[in-house]
Amino acid sequence: MSKLYEPSLPKLMEAIATEAKDMRAMDRRNFLKGGIAAVAGLSSVQMIPKANASANLPPSLPEWQRHLGPGVVAKPYGDPSEFEDLQRRTVPWLTVDAASSISMTPLQDLDGIITPSGVVFERYHGGIPNVNPDQHRLIIHGLVERPLVLTMDDLRRFPSVSQIRFIECPANGGMEWRGAQMEALQFTHGMLACCEWTGVKLSTLLEEVGVKPEGKWILAEGADAAGMSRSIPLKKALDDTIIAWGQNGEALRPEQGYPLRMLNPGWEGNTSVKWLRRLEIGDQPWHHREETSKYTDLMPDGRSRRFTWVMETNSVITSPCPENPLKQPGFLEIRGLAWSGRGRIKAVDVSLDGGVNWHRTELGELVIPKALTQFSLKTQWNGQPWLLQSRAIDETGYVQPTLKQLRDERGGWSIYHKNSIHTWNVTETGDVYNVQIS
């Protein structure tokens, strides 16, 4: 770093003291954050006197334009702007312990279809293992001709693919089965993310080991404290399962299974076993805890669905939403996301009146199978109350159902696979509330 940008510490403290004088209490936290970053030598010049914001507005010359900013590699791995507040959040009462819990993606603060790696929702059954990639191994064995142990270097030698796919916890929206309960998009739909994943197709690895004719199922097992395990049918493995080491152009984040995870596109997120250490080929499923006790669907008659892998077509309006209320009347682009575990999104419709009348929307440019897909509707909002809904249709012709349809079939006590049409109530003031129409 050039000497020019390096403040002497006393000068910096003086600056902080001066700024602190007329600082409003509300800004204190952000200011201190900036101050601490400056002390760490990252940058002092980016401190912005927030108490006097108008000094930066036209016709004045903004403070940040009056001097040089920090140079290259001030942050070798960059962070979001200090003015952003992008974070995963959890619902503390949902689970009994953070190591076996879930957090949600801040969908309300994101644009486009790619979820930044740092805010992809988390789901752990035994916390995040701190895996050393040099000491990590993937063993493939069972009904195979050549049982193999593979290092990370070995895996990267195989032909690779990069694919944009969503991943969603089957409990996404699960708190809403009995009634509207969550007051924010992050909590109603945030167990959802979409990334570019890089890895080797599982079919390639299976060719390498040679699956015996009687091999029909694969047990995938993680290297976490829960030894997370799920039975995957060979048919899926040969279709589109990826063994991934890359996420959004870099190595997987520890939260997402570093250094190696399975990815079963379009299926329940927990089948995409993280920190993958073992694949065993067998002739029948294992019926392990996370596919019997959990992740099965109890029906009203007391019977239960098992192997409910596919995440069915779903959609939600992300703007406006409770966190993003309407602030002024006039032109409005309603925006949202749609996705289907069965393939591409074909169309999305939006209703302003609770499902009485529907309007076709425009899809975003990227319509990728089993990926988040953008939709938008250009309209006017003039202070009238709305019951906003979106309804997605996928390429199989499946139309996203109403909550009533799901409840009539599955009862009100289900946990997983709630993919029904969601309703936001936009009030005259522009505030947005989560409601249900029955």
Binding site: I139, E207, G210, Q284, R289, R303, Q384, L387, W413, I437
Partner: protein
């Protein structure tokens, strides 16, 4: 030598033409039986994977009490909110299904597999085969699935049939069929709009300066009532009564400190089981306790929550809100 030369020529030709030889690419090393044995811990319903060894219900009881009961309760009833392991028979088709090992799990093998791989929660894969056989036998005994003298080993364990096994079936979705109607698709006069129960969502991020978990934004989440929507009727059918809506503001100011978190034995907002017996005493009793104070077995309710500036009506409205949001 001649053979070797010919082989080289073939390889070079392949490389030049870019053709990948069929079959394995030759990447990776052989996984030895020793490596596999160390990691291959899975158990299947047909008993494949169950190791030698055995354990009794009696041995399991001692181990369970030492290693499991602190979370799962002495009788599998679950401490606090940790998983319940026993009971729940006959509840699966009711409004309060209790999914336990005995009432729900289709295979006993899952119990063995899961205890071995993931339990105790803080020390996974720390139990010996004998300990797992014993603890699994005891959990089955807690569920009345085996007798007190049961000794589990590969043979006896594989023979255990779980009562709920036959009640699982393969995913048969799509199970509902919606249409793609565009005009007059629903009758708005029948709409019943239900809003959220306030106080259970950690919505701190709605406001810049709100760091309080479970704090919620201000405002009146009333149902839409615009005449253009022709759904006026919805206004009269919102989930909360008028008193409760008024009481929500009182709650935010005077009640939520204790009733959001459960401090001093306060029943938490939205905690149905915590409220059901209290609601059962009737509104008059609840209002009396809230206005005049009450010393209960679980804790103490100060008169008007300690805020004597509140009117009696304020307190009654706040009680209405808590009751309506908690049943």
């Amino acid at each position: 030598m001649f053979k070797y030369l010919r082989f080289s020529v073939v390889v070079v030709a392949l490389a030049v033409s870019g053709i990948v030889p069929a079959g394995p690419l030759g990447i990776g090393s052989t996984a030895t039986p020793e490596m596999i044995a160390g990691w291959d811990i899975d158990i299947r319903p047909d008993g494949v994977g169950l190791p030698p060894g055995q354990g009794s219900v009696a041995e399991g009881e001692l181990l369970y009490e030492a290693k499991c009961a602190s979370c799962h309760g002495l009788f599998g009833e679950g401490e606090g909110r940790w998983p319940v392991l026993a009971g729940g028979e006959g509840t699966l088709d009711t409004l309060h299904p209790e999914k336990t090992v005995g009432s729900y799990w289709p295979y006993a093998s899952t119990l063995w597999d899961y205890i071995y791989r993931a339990m105790p929660y803080t020390a996974p894969q720390s139990l010996s085969n004998e300990e797992v056989y014993s603890i699994a036998a005891y959990v089955l005994y807690l569920n009345d699935i085996v007798e007190e003298d049961f000794v589990s080993n590969k043979e006896t364990f594989t023979q255990v049939k779980m009562p709920n096994e036959e009640n699982f079936f393969i995913d048969n979705r799509p199970d509902v069929q919606n249409g793609r109607c565009f005009e007059n698709c629903a009758d708005p006069s029948t709409f019943k709009i239900v809003t959220t129960i306030n106080g259970v969502t950690p919505t701190g991020h709605f406001k810049e300066d709100s760091g309080v978990a479970a704090n919620h934004y201000e405002g009146n989440p009333s149902a839409a009532s615009g005449s253009e929507l022709r759904i006026e009727k919805s206004v009269t059918k919102v989930a909360l009564s008028k008193e409760a809506l008024l009481g929500r503001g009182v709650y935010d100011k005077a009640c939520q400190t204790c009733h959001n978190s459960g401090i001093a034995g306060a029943p938490k907002l939205g905690d149905v089981s915590g409220w059901v017996d209290r609601i059962g005493q009737g509104m008059d009793t609840l209002n009396d306790h809230a206005i005049n104070g009450y010393q209960g077995a679980d804790g103490v309710m100060p008169a008007k929550g300690g805020n004597m500036a509140l009117s009696d009506d304020d307190v009654v409205n706040a009680v209405a809100y808590m009751v309506e949001a908690s049943r």
